[in-house]
């Protein structure tokens, strides 16, 4: 059965920059980009890979959607070069400062505007804030089921079988479509390296930008005014290390003192 798949991708500041380079703007409480590059959040790439593999097997169509600034077009281009058929950018100052629920609402509206869909895939956690909130909110908005931490998806008898990774193994979940899944990495969904002809073809494709008006958004549900979550502070964790010498005349005495000290600190 052909599957129409929506993949939500987010452009983030390269999460692999050295820790010393991580800067937070005290005003906006957001990370400063500086000279660092923008990349697709890692698990979103796994989601894309899962979608493209499914399409290759089942037929259908992959549409990548990103809510973000104009720069996110580059992320969408690389989604196209990997094998997405279409890409849509949702960029409007009115939605810029939305919280997780707001973004989920926008993504859901955009998904509905695309038309029929069987699967909605997202990364299981974003490379910047790491809230893991959008997938569930989005499923709620769309009124469909949500399976989180999925590494593989197979189509079977008009349904989909999702392999959900849990702490000590995995669960196989059968679901009727449409369904939303948040994707986690495993060795079957390593994002493919794009072929040059696909990169070049992606470069020539135009990516439509949808505005708030295009999606007929309820203005009370997006933007900073609608946000239910307010960030009060963001800071780099402080790492402190102290060194304490354990005294004792003989090794036995030192060992005993060490044990006593550890017990005192409630470590053993």
């Amino acid at each position: 059965m052909p599957l129409n798949i929506i993949v939500c991708i987010k452009q983030v500041i390269d999460p692999e920059i050295p820790a010393s380079q991580f800067k937070i703007d005290p005003g906006t409480k957001r990370q400063v980009q500086g000279s660092h590059s923008l990349v697709i959040s890692a698990y979103d790439q796994n989601a894309l890979e899962v979608a493209i593999q499914l399409k290759e097997k089942q037929g259908g169509k992959v549409t990548a959607i990103s809510v973000g600034a104009a720069t996110a077009a580059t992320a969408l281009k690389s989604a196209l070069s990997m094998g997405a058929d279409e890409a849509i950018l949702v960029d409007d100052p009115a939605i810029a400062a939305s919280d997780q629920q707001g973004i989920a609402y926008v993504l859901a509206k955009a998904t509905q505007k695309v038309g029929t869909f069987d699967l909605v895939l997202t990364g299981c956690v974003s490379g910047d804030w790491g809230d893991r909130a959008v997938p569930a909110f989005m499923a709620e908005e769309l009124g469909i089921g949500c399976v989180s931490f999925v590494s593989r998806i197979e189509a079977k008898d008009g349904q989909v079988v999702l392999r959900r990774v849990v702490e000590d193994g995995y669960e196989l979940i059968e679901a009727k479509t449409p369904v939303l899944a948040s994707v986690i990495s495993d060795d079957t969904n390593t994002p493919r390296y794009p072929k040059l002809k696909d990169i070049m073809a992606a470069g020539k494709k135009t990516i439509p930008t949808w505005k708030a008006a295009d999606l007929v958004l309820d203005p009370d549900r997006v933007g900073s005014g609608a946000a239910r979550v307010a960030i009060t502070d963001v800071y780099l964790p402080l790492k402190e290390s102290k060194c304490e010498m354990i005294k004792g005349d003989t090794p036995q005495e030192q060992a005993a003192n060490l044990a006593a000290r550890l017990r005192e600190l409630k470590l053993i």
Binding site: D14, E16, P18, A19, S20, Q21, S35, S37, V39, T190, R192, Y193, P194, K195, L196, K197, I199
Partner: protein
């Protein structure tokens, strides 16, 4: 009485020779036609520039055979045979000169000294050459001939040679015996051959002579006819290949016009240029490339000779109707393609200037850009290049962390310097190599060199991307760098990375970036010679220098590093067996820095063992990749306490008082 002999003695019907030759000539020409048609399957290539330089190279390597002579035994046997036959052929032509134009070549001193003595000695040399060749090929059987497979039908060639030579001498001997030639002893070969026939009767002499003469002619013609169908083809294809050789440095890869290209790399044999195809046909299967190949010598399936002859056999099958195998994957396996370090040892060694590297890279280009099928670790490196402009994924450093507290200026804030220090990604991001950058910066400061760095504006030169096969990414990175360098009006660059050096020096000019670039060993050697750096502190012990492929073999810088080591008081410099032009790769070139060697022994271990045999305190190099490889290998070998891998900048810094 003037010394002479009767022309065509005892052969009244010699004119029929030409009629006899005709069918053999047809067979020869047909073979050559097929050969040319095969070459024309390839893409166009311009090769006829710099004619006089090409001719000079032709004389040096096809006529004087300098590269062949680098191996004494095979040099001797090849020179004996090729020059022997050349002399005999010239003599035959000179006879024709007398026959048709009446120029008396068979008279007087010229007859005695040249036509008899000299030519005969050449003929004897050829016999000896054939003898040595037979013993070598079928008796001694060196690995380089035997593996991966022994060439077909060299035996036929040698047998034909032997028959032609021996019958030639017998004919001469019979004539000497029959005519009681008073100058017979001037032809030592013929004279020796005459001895058994002295007692024969006149009729016996005449019959035997005539029979052998025609037999000799037929065998010689058969050899001509056989030539285009056998390994003997190298007698024509190899000199042609030397004349049409690539005149660029071996480390240079050719750009693709990405705007116009319809395909990227080569997936079928006809996608190579005809010059590449000529390379395949010119191969004599001598296996010298294989003997020096770091992949082959450490047990990998890659042998440059194997790549060339496999492609050649594939070409011939395709030309004759088809080969169901895919070139990339079946004829040449992926394991072969990802084993090449592009060290250039095979290019350096080949007596007939065959180039395996571009053939391998063309296939890599196909795999990377068209199939996106290549090792995962290399994909990671290329992704990092795309996203961050450097291949060191997961580094905890920034491009300028190493320079903290050193007062190193960036071009952005300080305008154009006398010289730009191109740091390179390895020295910026790899912890071990940051120390090299620090040493070099301090040395330059001490010597009063006015330098700056690009800092965050520097990108990888694109060397690994290009050699892994992603020409597209290479051109993007190169373009960004050239734009930056030109914007600041940079004229002169120094770098501590031979890979950056090679790319900026030899590959950027074709993309619009021409700069004067020196390697830091060249600069430090100059500063030392000028007295601006004085390595005065004693360093006792033994040091050995490992030639980085992209500094030495690919760019000819051998002496500056050695001058630097030699300038340090107390240090005893010992050379490894494989040094200078024959330096052995560390294993990290050609993008293999980002490849896990799973087959055979690690190239870096092989090289490190060779160095350790000298029991050096210092294993000096001048390349960040070599340094990383040696750091690892010495630890594995448990020798990192006794032998320190150092960059030459670090060695000099230790000896220059107060610079660290």
């Amino acid at each position: 009485m003037t010394p002479s002999r009767e022309i065509y003695w005892n052969i009244p019907g010699h004119i029929f020779l030409y009629i006899l030759f005709f069918p053999f000539l047809i067979v020869f020409l047909y073979g050559m036609y097929r050969q040319v048609r095969r070459l024309l399957m390839g893409q166009p290539a311009g090769v006829l520039d710099h004619f006089w330089d090409r001719l000079r190279g032709f004389v040096e390597h096809a006529v004087l055979q300098r590269r062949i002579a680098r191996d004494a035994v095979s040099g001797l046997l090849h020179l004996s045979m090729s020059w022997g036959f050349a002399a005999l052929f010239i003599a035959t032509c000179l006879v024709a000169l007398q026959d048709y134009f009446g120029i008396p070549t068979l008279y007087g001193n010229f007859y005695l000294y040249f036509m008899s003595l000299t030519v005969d000695l050449f003929g004897l040399a050829a016999v000896a050459g054939v003898g040595i060749a037979l013993v070598r090929r079928y008796g001694a059987k060196p690995d380089r001939l035997l593996k991966p497979r022994l060439a077909d039908n060299y035996g036929v060639l040698l047998a034909l040679f032997l028959v032609i030579l021996v019958t030639g001498f017998l004919i001469e001997g019979l004539r000497i015996a029959a005519t009681a030639d008073p100058w017979g002893h001037w032809s030592p070969g013929g004279w020796l051959a005459s001895l058994p026939f002295v007692g024969f009767g006149e009729a016996q002499h005449a019959t035997l002579h005539r029979l052998l003469w025609w037999f000799h002619a037929i065998v010689a013609f058969a050899f001509v006819a056989y030539l285009p169908y056998s390994i003997s083809l190298h007698m024509l294809a190899a000199p042609a290949n030397i004349l049409l050789r690539n005149r660029e440095r071996s480390g240079v890869l050719q750009p693709i016009d990405l705007e116009k290209a319809e395909r990227f790399g080569a997936s079928t044999i006809g996608q190579y240029t005809w010059k590449h195809l000529l390379d395949l046909e010119a191969c004599t299967e001598c296996g010298r490339c294989q003997q020096v190949c770091p992949a082959w010598t450490t047990g990998k399936p890659l042998t440059p000779k194997g790549v060339i002859i496999d492609l050649r056999d594939h070409l011939r099958l395709v030309a004759e109707g088809g080969d169901s195998r895919k070139m990339v994957g079946d004829v040449i396996s992926h394991d072969v393609l990802w084993a090449c370090t592009t060290c250039g040892a095979c290019h350096q060694e080949c007596p007939v200037f065959i180039e395996p590297i571009p053939k391998i890279v063309e296939m890599r280009r196909h795999l990377v850009m068209e199939e996106a099928e290549f090792p995962e670790t290399m994909q990671q490196a290329l992704r990092s290049l795309e996203e961050r402009g450097h291949p060191f994924r997961g580094t905890s450093a920034t491009r300028t962390d190493w320079a903290k507290g050193l007062g190193v200026k960036t071009v952005a804030g300080n305008g154009r310097p006398d010289i730009l220090y191109w740091v390179g990604c390895a020295a910026a991001f790899d912890e071990r190599n940051q120390k090299v950058a620090v040493s070099l910066a301090k040395l330059m400061q001490r010597a009063g060199v006015n330098f700056s760095i690009l800092g965050e504006e520097e990108r990888c030169t694109g060397d690994p991307a290009r050699r892994i096969g992603n020409e597209y990414l290479f051109q993007i990175l190169a373009g960004e760098n050239i734009t930056t360098l030109n914007r600041y009006g940079i004229k002169k660059i120094v770098t501590s990375c031979p890979h950056c050096y090679n790319t900026i020096k030899n590959e950027y000019p074709k993309l619009g970036g021409s700069y004067e670039i020196v390697h830091h060993t060249e600069m430090l050697a100059d500063l030392t010679r000028q007295g601006r750096l004085r390595p005065e502190r004693r360093m006792d012990g033994v040091a050995s220098f490992h030639d980085p492929c992209y500094l030495g073999r690919h760019n000819g810088v051998y002496d500056s590093p050695r001058r630097l080591l030699g300038a340090i008081p107390g240090l005893q410099v010992k050379e490894m067996g494989r040094c200078r032009e024959r330096g052995f790769c560390c294993g990290a070139g050609g993008g293999l820095m980002w490849f896990e060697e799973k087959i055979g022994k690690r190239v870096s271990w092989e090289r490190t063992e060779e160095a350790l045999a000298l029991q050096p305190q210092v294993l000096a190099s001048a390349c960040p990749f070599c340094l990383i490889m040696f750091e690892d290998a010495l630890k594995v070998k448990g020798a990192n306490e006794t032998t320190r891998p150092l960059d030459l900048a670090e060695v000099i810094a230790q000896s220059v008082e107060g610079s660290d």
